[in-house]
């Protein structure tokens, strides 16, 4: 009985975390799929989203769940700005210069956060008390913030999916992703599409950061581990695949949780990365869903 409750508990916890992983991975996958740039500063944008949620909660007394409606557009603009100022200049550069630039950006952002906000650990303040606490279903305990974070992740993911699949701009993004020269020939402004894609990718990961900030501690290097998970998720789902990110995020959440429960918590991330390596060996170019 206990094992069964434990199993359901682990499964549910993993599932909830998995939706958040999906949203984090989406931004990374999108930027790579469309622009062919691997954004090593991805985790730092997650950190930025978390710190924004923190400062909104402390300075303006806005619960992260309200602040998210301000933070998403703000991060979109930050993304567009970083694209125009930095990423644009390296699009035609070599792969190594792209890696060094985004990696440099990640080091800069983490250290800047440390300089501005000290290396201390914090938690965002919650002002919507109805969104804290926890609930119990048949002996399985779920934190309400975790529940909200995963539902929020699904909603943001669905919104991004809608934008990409069913709007005119989204179709332009898809076209650019498939063949940027062809897209240019039919009159799509590639530069704008890249800017929008980068902004969209950053606001997705930032939104995940805001949702995480409702229950996870915040500090300047918080993005590092999450971005490792994001890379594994994207490689598992296939670089550039939106649906792949979604399924792979859930898979990774569940593998992590069940691995930790049945084998040993110390190796749960080893199991996650092993799964990823097996997929890389079996389907090296495409992951599970890539094209």
């Amino acid at each position: 009985m206990l094992v069964n409750v434990g199993l359901v508990q682990a499964l549910m916890s993993g599932l909830l975390m998995g939706f958040v992983y999906s949203l984090i991975a989406l931004g990374l996958s999108l930027i790579y799929g469309v622009m062919d740039v691997v954004n090593f500063a991805h985790g730092e944008f997650l950190m930025l989203g978390m710190f924004l949620a923190y400062w909104f909660s402390v300075l303006f007394r806005l619960d992260p769940l309200i602040a998210i409606f301000i933070i998403i557009p703000v991060l979109f603009l930050v993304g567009v700005g970083i694209y125009k100022g930095l990423i644009k200049r390296i699009l035609n550069g070599t792969r190594i210069s792209q890696i060094l630039t985004t990696f440099g950006l990640s080091v800069f952002m983490a250290n800047m956060a440390m300089f501005l906000w000290t290396p201390n650990y914090r938690l965002a303040e919650r002002h919507l008390t109805s969104t804290t606490g926890d609930l119990s279903i048949f002996g399985v305990y779920l934190g309400v913030p975790e529940l909200i974070a995963s539902v929020g992740s699904i909603l943001v993911f669905a919104f991004a999916y809608y934008l990409i699949r069913f709007t005119r701009t989204g179709r332009a993004i898809q076209a650019t992703s498939i063949d940027s020269e062809g897209a240019r020939l039919v009159g799509i402004n590639i530069d704008n599409i890249y800017a929008i894609t980068f902004g969209l990718g950053i606001s997705c990961v930032g939104a995940a950061g805001v949702l995480l900030a409702t229950f996870y501690y915040i500090f300047p290097y918080v993005g590092t581990f999450f971005s490792m998970i994001a890379f594994a998720t994207v490689a598992l789902g296939g670089f550039g695949s939106v649906e792949g990110s979604f399924v792979a995020g859930i898979l990774i959440g569940i593998i992590e949780s069940l691995g930790g429960f049945f084998i040993s918590p110390a190796v749960k991330y080893a199991i996650v990365f092993m799964t990823y390596m097996v997929v890389i060996i079996l389907r090296p170019a495409t992951g599970l869903f890539g094209w």
């Binding site: 682990a10 290396p119 926890d134 779920l142 918590p265």
Partner: protein, 417 residues
């Protein structure tokens, strides 16, 4: 980051130039701490602790403490102590080269530092090679005083001692309450610090006849601790012994609450004592037990503590926390030894250190005093205290001669608080 380095360098330069002006009557001591990198905040607290001690040595104060009523060291014609600061960035290699630089080009007569045990280890190797005394107040790896070094001394207790006190506390709790606390779950982060603590705990569990029902290693910085806590709950322990870093400690506290997990006793290392912990978790942090080297409530046992805490508050504009207390003892011990030696000759200082016998009244930490074991260099009187968080503050509950409050037992269920 860079600005930090510039500030530290400028500070070092100013101190060095300042030192030159009074070169004849100044005794230089080198201090290595991780001033840059993730531990920069802690390093600042450690530095303030050292500066507080040096201030008491070099200036007159009207309370009863070592060197408070004199300026400088009386047996050396009022010579003042000057600290030469060096940055290890938390890196053992840098710590080693900085120790070398302090000894050879700065001409320090002794070294203090370095906080991280791994850095203290390499820096003290250099001191040993050059024959320069190294007094450490702020590293807790047991291994440091198991090397039979001639020149290494430690004022603070170490992690091995901590585990023993923890079991003594559990046994006392059993006696006080009549409840069995024999089922232990050991939870630890799986690098050097956590593994060492867990190893000591497991050995002692056997020695004292406790049953380890779960031994759980976890990865520090984990994104979720749900599966860890699910396993813990399945093992139904009376006591959870945890060795975590502050970040994971925060997440464990939140996860325990979410999953309604309330063992009778939740016993921790020093992580919940860091200021960020209570700031982050608020009253969810209540009723955790933790080890501390120092607790501000000890002022009732030693009034001079209150006066020094007050001076510290005036001087640095913040509370003197446990880390500052740890680093505070080393310069006092060195000043005392140099004063008794009446010279700055390293061998004379070492002999004086071996004869150190500072009474407990002159220790901020709850010790009977400072006296070094001649073989290992470990302070034989050092010990930890066990505190419990109550009303979002820290109160000493063990050993009983230092206790200021009764412990709350058992850990209340999450619904009844």
């Amino acid at each position: 980051m860079k600005k930090g380095i510039v500030v530290v360098c400028t500070l070092a330069l100013v101190l060095a130039l300042g030192g030159m002006a009074f070169a004849e009557n100044v005794i230089k001591i080198g201090a290595i701490y991780p001033f840059t990198g993730p531990m920069a905040g802690t390093a600042q607290m450690l530095k303030d602790g050292v500066e507080m001690a040096v201030d008491i040595i070099n200036n007159k104060y009207d309370f009863d403490f070592l060197f408070a009523d004199t300026e400088g060291l009386p047996n050396l014609g009022g010579a003042k102590i000057e600290i030469i600061w060096a940055d290890s960035a938390g890196d053992p290699k840098t710590g080693m080269s900085e120790a070398e630089r302090l000894i050879t080009s700065e001409g320090v007569v002794a070294l203090i530092g370095c906080y991280q045990s791994s850095v203290t280890k390499t820096a003290s190797q250099v001191a040993e090679r050059y024959g320069i005394p190294f007094v450490n107040g702020d590293s807790s790896s047991p291994q440091l005083t198991e090397r039979n070094f001639k020149w290494f001394f430690r004022t603070d207790p170490h992690d091995g001692l901590y585990a023993r006190q923890q079991f003594e506390h559990l046994i006392e709790l059993e006696k006080q309450t009549g409840e069995s606390l024999r089922r232990l779950a050991i939870v630890y982060e799986n690098t050097e610090f956590g593994s060492q603590v867990a190893r000591a705990q497991e050995a002692l569990a056997k020695e004292y006849g406790f049953q380890v029902v779960e031994k759980l290693a976890y990865t520090t910085g984990a994104t979720s601790l749900n599966s860890e806590v699910t396993r813990l709950m399945a093992s139904k322990p009376d006591v959870v012994l945890m060795a975590a870093y502050i970040s994971d400690q925060i997440l464990f506290t939140k996860t325990f609450k979410t999953m309604r997990f309330a063992p009778k006793v939740w016993h921790n290392t020093a992580a919940p004592g860091e200021p960020d912990f209570l700031k982050s978790v608020g009253d969810d942090g209540n009723y955790l037990f933790l080890r501390q080297g120092f607790c501000a409530d000890q002022v009732v046992n030693k009034p001079v503590i209150g006066q020094i805490l007050e001076e510290f508050r005036n001087k640095f504009g913040q509370e003197m926390l446990a880390d500052a207390v740890r680093s505070f003892h080393a310069p006092i011990v060195l000043a005392d030894a140099i004063n008794r030696a009446g010279s700055t000759d390293p061998e004379a200082i070492r002999q004086a250190l071996l004869e150190t016998d500072i009474p407990g009244d002159y220790c901020l930490s709850p010790w009977e005093g400072i006296k070094f074991d001649p073989e290992t260099g470990q302070n034989i009187h050092s010990q930890y205290i066990i505190c419990q968080i109550q009303d979002q503050d820290f109160y000493t509950v063990f050993p009983s001669e230092f206790a200021t409050r009764e412990p709350v037992f058992p850990f209340p269920s999450w619904d009844d608080r």
